[in-house]
Amino acid sequence: MIQIGTVIATTDSPSLELIELILEKENQSLVEKGQYVTITKNEASIVLGIIVSIKKYNAYYETLDSSIHEINSRNYEAIFPIEEWESTKVEVKPLGEVEVNSNKVSRIKFPVSPGSKVYISSPSIISTFLGLDPDGIYLGNLSSNNVKVSINLSRLLRKHLAILAISGAGKSYATSILLEELYKYGKLGVLVIDPHGEYSSIIPFIAPKANVEVIKGSFISIGVPDLSAWEISEFSPDISVVQTRVLSTIISNLKRDCNNLYSLQEIIQKVDTSEVINPRTKDALIGWLEILRRTFLFSAKTSPNISELMEPGKIVILDLSGIQSLWNRQIIALYFLKRLYKLRMQEKIPPSLFVIEEAHQFCPQNGRSVSKRIVETIAREGRKFYASLCLISQRPVNMSVTALSQCNSNLILRIRNPYDQDFIGKTSEGIDRSTLKMIPSLEIGEALLVGEAVNHPIFFKIRLRTFNSEDTSLNLGEISEQYEKEWKFKWKKE
């Protein structure tokens, strides 16, 4: 192990919360924020800590005046041996104690001594300490220390995962890595609700065609005969209980008369021609049903067949990019999630992961959303039935607290908004103030994993995808140029 410094005695250090050390000059280049270090406590045990702050000090620059050298032609640095006075103080947050012989990890009950030597931690100690699983899914590498971040699948997903980051910080990339690993694992069924159609172009590279099914939103239809009156009222929450009861009677009659082949148009006609329904109820119900009909999501048959959709190792993508209306997207999400969750409860589909992109649209904290209840239900109860959620969002503050707080593991990429940071701090278990402070400074592709999946929060770099996917997205200039060319061509033609 490489020695990097010595623990010093200050008013706050060494304590159970903070260890301060002075870096050795020759090994300064090996040290960085977020790095794991080992401090010798005694012959039997070591303390593992993470570097949370690095401060440089130089007495020659202690006052503002000292940098004024306008009288002399020589620079300040050309007169004084300034470099000789530079010292580097590092603050380390102690994470826990490891018994050298047994590798047993425990919390620190007594601080290390001033004068203790500090080393860069070895990968094996870090893996043991953080609870990494060499056979787990490989998401990336620790930002320092050269350790593979392989996470136990069950610990990562069983109690749900949230991926949170600002736009462009690498959420979709991180998700594609997760999907790549899940495909390799091959035993889970995966459904991706993809409002922007980002994954439909990536996923076919991850897995062979047979294991991927991309379903375009425009090809999705919800078979009305598969729906009860209560389910229809879930799509349109303004339908009252009385109206739902009336609807239920109409549907029973249609099932009997039409041999299970009818759509919303038939229901509307039946309501309209019924003489037993109160005219006011009739008008209102027809109005709600007409609004539902105009979504063009409903027909006499469900497509695709949901009961045959999920298979072990298969990735299904609902590409909703062609659907403009948020309500329509929510209806689709509700229908698929509800059906699949029920099938999973009946063990008719394999253990499943439901990946929801832009989760704040489907499960918002405020405002109406028809899909909110099913997402919250899976978040609360899915663990028991091996149905897991992966909620992805760029605005965690707008997401349902119920759903987010049930995500016991959080993969956080760069987040700048202070409200979002604050919200993450409140909803994520195991994230303390010093860790929270590091989130805005994360680089693109750098992530923080906290919660159930690991013993301690870890900062790591998301690994590269194993397949080559060229970035086909154009910049603003390129897209404007392309549009202009096409527009000129059309104009000439006309």
């Binding site: 005046d65 050298h69 009288i71 032609s73 020589r74 620079n75 050309a78 007169i79 041996p81 000789e84």
Partner: protein, 324 residues
Amino acid sequence: MFIQLTPQDISGLTIGGIDGGYTSRLLIGFDIFFFRAIAVFSTYTPETIQKTNYYPNKTPPLEITVADVGLSILEFENLGSIKRAIIELQVATQVLELSTKKIDVLLLDGSPILRRPITNNQRIQNFYQTYLSNLSKLVYLASKNRVKMAWIVKDSRLNLFTRFLGKILPFIIEFLPELLTVDYRSIINRSRDMDLFYYLLEPNVRSMVYQRDFKVTKEFDSKFSLYAFYLKTVPFDIPLRVEMFQSNRRNHKNLINDINTLSETILPLSQYNKTYGIPAPIVEADARAKIKEAEIKALFRMIQTRFPKPEFMLKRRERSPWKF
């Protein structure tokens, strides 16, 4: 009377600074001194410092001396300052003897003039003799090695020039009518040289040189004399008092040349701030030689753990359990 100077290009030169520090503690059984002296020497390039070396090292250990029992406070302080001066001279001599690199200029903190202690204490007298012999050894060595050596007095309290003015002004006052409007006598009586030269000198200007009266040994005094002058380095700081030994064999022109060259070397090293202008090697040596309170505390903790006897305890006034 005043000489305009031009700061010299110091690139290629190796310039050293020497300083020492001391502090004392009164114990129940005896009193002790802690000393430290260091030499810092840097080689300059046109743009930066090529290398800085420290002697004996960057953080020299503390040297501890036990004072005699029964010394008066004045004797105790005499002993401390003489011993510190001896250690500084020893470090300077060792640097000149051991350095493999040619040292061009050596600057020492303070004045070489140490007044003979008025005491019958033989140990203090012996220390004083040691100081004089070390001083003469160093000056000989510097002369032999062609090292320009000077002592830099940061805060001079001398009033040689003001006394001189006081003597001659009555004879020339009739030619200076503006002085008749003020009570110049009381101003001169209350002023030190430094006060006057702050106003009289401009940056990059030195005062006239005057010879100082200081006896080392007969043989030494026949060969060397001590000269002093004031040098203003920056606009808003008091001038430096610079003292240097020069061979009596040198003629006046060479002597003045040497003084001017040394001054022009000191100037670029001192002009880094408009309000503070002492040479950088002295700043660095002073910072390194400083004995920190924390060091003394740590040392005392160690002494008291190893020798848990009352004689090693600090006096009560220094170990009160309360921090009022």
